[in-house]
């Protein structure tokens, strides 16, 4: 599965946030987006599943190709894109009024992908993939809010997985979590990358170094540098990259 971005520009009203981004992501890999606050990495990732345009007055131009199909083509509805490109958010946003089972099942339920026993199987599979099954298998009907922060985030991951996407986007998924949960999720990412293409936004460079195969450095809405993670950190080609990576600004 190929995943390419061509000449992507994005605006918030009149203010341009992304300038001519061109990137491609390999299948079964993890790519990290790093950069200082406000550099556009979150905006970029939100353009990959057409969430950016949900903001009033937001605009996107350019192409994002999944298997050579442009998700921004006029004939394509954003919600169909989002079934294939899933997203995990910074704050775990489980549905508070629903049970653990319902939270995972909601995606396939509304999209009509599975019902009844198939659905139960899908939920179990997703929870196992998210390394949460063992902890919740006896309390599937309990409210999702009973789980800890780290568990809730894994529940959100399971929820995304249940939709059977091809790409998983993660917008700083660990920044609201404690170090142990963070480690658990990073291990999870390591496993998930065998099946999915993962794009992760992180402000934590060591996290990028731990989980990502490739890393992209953003600054002021532009891609400054993109390389294999170890190369980017040890031998950055651009001065800005080197400055950021060595902590001269953040």
């Amino acid at each position: 599965m190929s995943f390419t971005v061509e000449h992507l520009n994005a605006w918030y009203g009149r203010k341009q946030a992304l300038y001519d981004v061109n990137l491609s992501f390999g299948p079964q890999s993890v790519t990290a987006m790093i950069g200082p606050s406000g550099c556009g990495k979150s905006t970029f990732v939100r353009c990959l599943n057409r969430m950016h345009e949900e903001i009033p007055d937001a605009r996107v131009t350019g192409r994002v190709l999944v298997d050579d199909f442009d998700i921004y083509a006029r004939s394509i509805k954003p919600r169909h894109v989002r079934q294939h490109v899933g997203m995990v958010f910074q704050q775990p946003n489980v549905l508070p009024t629903r049970s653990i089972f319902d939270n995972v099942a909601i995606g396939p339920r509304i999209n009509g992908h599975a019902h009844g026993p198939d659905l139960r199987e899908l939920v179990e599979r997703s929870l196992r993939q998210a390394a949460l099954w063992e902890e919740v298998k006896d309390q599937l009907q309990a409210p999702a809010t009973q789980l800890s922060g780290g568990q809730q985030q894994r529940l959100c991951i399971a929820r995304t997985l249940a939709n059977q996407p091809q790409v998983i986007l993660m917008d700083e998924p660990c920044s609201a979590l404690d170090p142990i949960s963070t480690l658990q999720i990073e291990e999870l990412i390591d496993e998930l990358k065998q099946t999915y293409t993962i794009v992760i936004v992180t402000h934590n460079m060591s996290q990028a170094a731990r989980v990502a195969d490739r890393t992209v450095f953003f600054l002021l809405g532009r891609v400054i540098e993109e390389a294999e993670t170890s190369k980017l950190f040890s031998q950055p080609q651009k001065k800005e990259t080197e400055d950021y990576v060595s902590g001269r600004f953040g």
Binding site: Q91, V94, L95, P96, T97, I106, G107, I110, T160
Partner: protein
């Protein structure tokens, strides 16, 4: 001591001589007076609130003692035989309010959803202004509209049409008079609608974007986002708004009195029947009320209205405040 000069303030003899107050009470004399006056006013307010309740109970005591619970089941105000009851009034109050809720809840909720989710941003402020304006229209004007336009229209066009096409249902049977439960119900719907829209709108605006995004990211349609993220999150607050609206419907006087016919009808489910409500009984009978059981009966009707609206009010505010405690933005009702 005599040689001490007070710095920068010429407080004079009186000022100095009141110093002992400051030392004794920990506050300056002006403040003591200020606090006393404030507390006096607050006391008057508390006394008034409690006074209203007390007066209602005390002055309805004769009929409470005479009839007890049968006041609620007796069929009419009968000064000749000195028997008083509000059963038809309670029926009228409940039936008209139920009608209003059945229509105002879906219409109000959907209109609120429009304002929150679909409305172009330019229209938001004018729409809010319109809703508030509708809520501010005095009930006597809605009553005027009901009596002079709505009731005649119902009599000549609306109700005959309903009877002709849906007359097999018990709601649309019976003599057609224009005024009656249907007219009162429609008028109550108009009065209660802006309240439901306002509360629902406020409550739905407090739903965190993260919840909506969670559903959007799974590929949900707008309706699914509302159904699975917005409504469940705000259902407690919306329920509070509905109960608040119910309270208002139950206590509404003028508009209902003008279009309900104020005449008893044989008990039936017909929407075309005339009737009366607890509030309209008070409005119509206070003039006739002779001291004694009659007067007491009118007051007791007021007491019942007071208790009902008190209960709905407390319930509604508790529900809405429990939403606020969940960390949502303040909801102003």
């Amino acid at each position: 001591m005599q040689q001490q000069v007070s710095v920068s303030r010429g407080r004079g003899v009186i000022g100095h001589s009141l110093d002992w107050i400051t030392t004794r009470f920990g506050r300056k004399p002006t403040d003591l007076v200020f606090r006393a006056v404030t507390l006096l006013f607050v006391f008057v307010v508390i006394a008034t609130v409690i006074g209203v309740a007390v007066v209602l109970v005390v002055y309805s005591w004769p009929t409470i003692k005479a009839f007890g619970l049968s006041f609620l089941t007796n069929a009419a105000f009968d000064p000749v035989h000195n028997i008083y009851g509000v059963a038809p009034a309670i029926f009228g109050t409940l039936y008209t309010s139920l009608f209003a809720m059945v229509f105002a809840i879906p219409i109000g909720l959907l209109a609120a959803i429009f304002v929150v989710d679909f409305c172009p941003r330019l229209l938001r402020t004018p729409l809010a202004f319109f809703t508030d304006l509708l809520a501010a229209i005095p009930s006597v004007i809605i009553g005027l509209f009901g009596f002079l336009l709505l009731a005649p229209w119902l009599q000549h066009t609306g109700e005959p049409w309903l009877q002709q096409h849906l007359g097999f249902l018990p709601f649309f049977q019976g003599p057609i008079q224009g005024v009656g439960i249907l007219a009162a119900g429609m008028v109550l719907t108009i009065m209660v609608l802006p309240l439901i829209i306002a509360v629902s709108r406020e409550v739905m605006l407090t739903v965190p974007t993260a919840q909506r995004e969670a559903m959007l990211a799974l590929g949900a349609t707008r309706w699914e986002v509302i159904r699975y993220a917005v409504l469940p999150f705000s259902r407690v607050g919306i329920l509070g708004g509905i109960i608040l609206a119910l309270g208002r419907a139950l206590g509404e006087t003028m508009a209902v009195t003008m279009v309900i016919g104020n005449q008893a009808s044989p008990p039936s489910l017909s929407l075309f029947q005339t009737g009366y409500t607890l509030s309209s009984v008070i409005a119509n009978q206070f003039g006739e009320a002779t001291p004694g059981l009659f007067l007491s009966a009118v007051i007791e009707a007021g007491l019942i209205v007071f208790i009902i609206t008190l209960i709905t009010n407390i319930l509604a505010r508790w529900l809405i405040s429990s939403m606020q405690r969940r960390g949502a933005r303040g909801v102003h009702v």
